[in-house]
Symmetry: C2
């Protein structure tokens, strides 16, 4: 891997470029973005020079598509005619099934779906960090398990490990179903919470007198994430998100009824079930320490045998 | 104010004691708690010595009830026969209407409802901090505006300002209605979220492969809060919490339908409404800076004229 092209040099694309450099990557790093973005990315040492999407497709050994989900689908179609056979195309899109399906329309394309579970509230290459992926899960969604043994994929995985990412392989649908609960539902729950408070007739009092604790502040932080990011995510994961929302609404209905009836044993059970799940996803502080000490990737090949 | 009794020497009670000391309080600080707790609190310099609830009622100029809501009601009944006329009794309970009503059953008692909006995930006097209330809202719920001019109340408010708290006065029902949306609903939303993930059939995958972002982690953090704390809060604020849950469920239903119908303009509107409210409760970092520079309390007397 001598030439890497970052398509979409924002927080994720820029961080991946900085991480490669910090991990000792000596090849060239091309950037496909607006002229202004490339200028900033060059100043930060993230990319060497700008190039067009077509040039990136012709020249790079690895194409990293770090764009919104809808744009990634367009990029796949645009690069397909220009790729060399050994080129590996991968992405960082938040949903995987539709992207993987779009890539499969180009049988000659060597495509590996990816999703680094890392991010920040701020966007843009200015916020990029070489250690953004350190200790974080990086999901890969190969269409067959064999795919992971291809030389270009093996080399890419070595770089992912060098930048400290924890590789998890899943099929695309399993990824989307899990993320519907663990990422898309929490976002919608936070938006609904902030929006309910805003519509409660108590919004002015709550904000003027600062009548809130950290829980509402955290929901508010999430609710500042713009719909422009979420539109594609929700549109490309409609079924699983719909299912997660239904389960969540049912759970809330149940809590409401138990509250109405003063049914403390039922409420207690829900708090306990919630605490049990909560304990299984301990805070990232502990996680990172633990992960750093082992630095081993997790391959969940079981998904393939279950299909 | 020469003698203060902390009834329930945990995180809040212990922090209040440490804050008073740090702000220059020279009088005695008595502690009503288990022998083991008082020992730890003495070692931390939070209290001078243990005393019984009855002795506290007879001796202290200020009684600070920092107990769970249900226990505060019991304490009010227990202290009532022993109080001197000038003694001020106040509390730190998370709901106010029922506590204020319970106190009013003792007409000779000089009671001022209070709720410091500060806390941590950890409990117990070991976690107490002298600056816990610095820059944080401290709600007071006097039954009449006149009450605020009583000498004992004026002196208490001076100490609250010295420890850096931002006083907000509200009537008890207004407090409970606002907190139903800004504190109790976020807690139930987090519990339902963690519990839904736990019941999704995807819990093992989500936790083993660490398929989650910060939103779910924050919900999980909240969901570790035990029902023993929330039972009394929910039981003493049933109407407002029920209303908040209904509004929230309706909002989620609406999001679900808009998602089903690909109604992006509706979803966009919800995200915008949420972001607008979110912007009105900016993160505490900014808040604290701003507040520290002014160090002035807010008195929202308007509540009284609206009654």
């Amino acid at each position: 891997m001598e030439s890497v092209a970052i398509v979409g040099v924002g927080l994720i694309g820029g961080s991946f470029a900085l991480a490669l450099r910090a991990a000792g990557f000596q090849g060239e790093i091309l950037g496909v973005s607006s002229a202004a973005t490339i200028e900033r990315a060059r100043a930060l040492g993230a990319v060497d020079r700008a190039c067009t999407l077509e040039e990136a497709a012709r020249r790079a050994d690895l194409l990293f598509l770090a764009q919104p989900v809808g744009v990634i689908r367009d990029s796949l179609a645009a690069i397909a005619p220009h790729l060399r056979p050994h080129t590996l195309v991968t992405d960082a899109g938040s949903t995987k099934a539709e992207i993987v399906a779009a890539a499969q329309r180009h049988p000659a394309m060597q495509f590996l779906g990816g999703h680094p579970l890392a991010g920040k509230e701020v966007r843009g290459v200015e916020a990029a960090e070489a250690n953004l992926f350190h200790g974080r899960t990086w999901v890969l969604t190969p269409v067959t398990e064999d795919f992971l043994h291809r030389p270009a994929v093996v080399e890419f995985c070595v770089w992912l490990e060098r930048i400290g990412a924890q590789i998890v392989t899943l099929d695309a649908e399993a990824h989307d179903r899990a993320l519907a609960f663990s990422s898309h539902l929490p976002q919608l729950a936070a938006v609904a919470l902030a929006s309910s408070c805003g519509a409660s007739g108590l919004a002015d009092r709550i904000s003027a007198a600062r009548l809130f604790g950290p829980a509402l502040q955290e929901a508010a932080r999430l609710a500042r994430s713009p719909f422009s990011i979420w539109r594609d995510i929700l549109a490309t994961n409609r079924g699983p998100v719909h299912h997660a929302l239904e389960c969540y609404i049912m759970k809330l209905q149940q809590l409401k009824e138990e509250l109405e009836q003063g049914e403390n044993s039922g409420l207690d059970r829900e708090f306990q079930a919630a605490a049990l799940f909560a304990a299984s996803i301990r805070p990232s502080g502990q996680l990172n320490e633990e992960r750093d000490s082992s630095r081993r990737s997790v391959y969940l090949g079981d998904e393939f045998s279950r299909k």
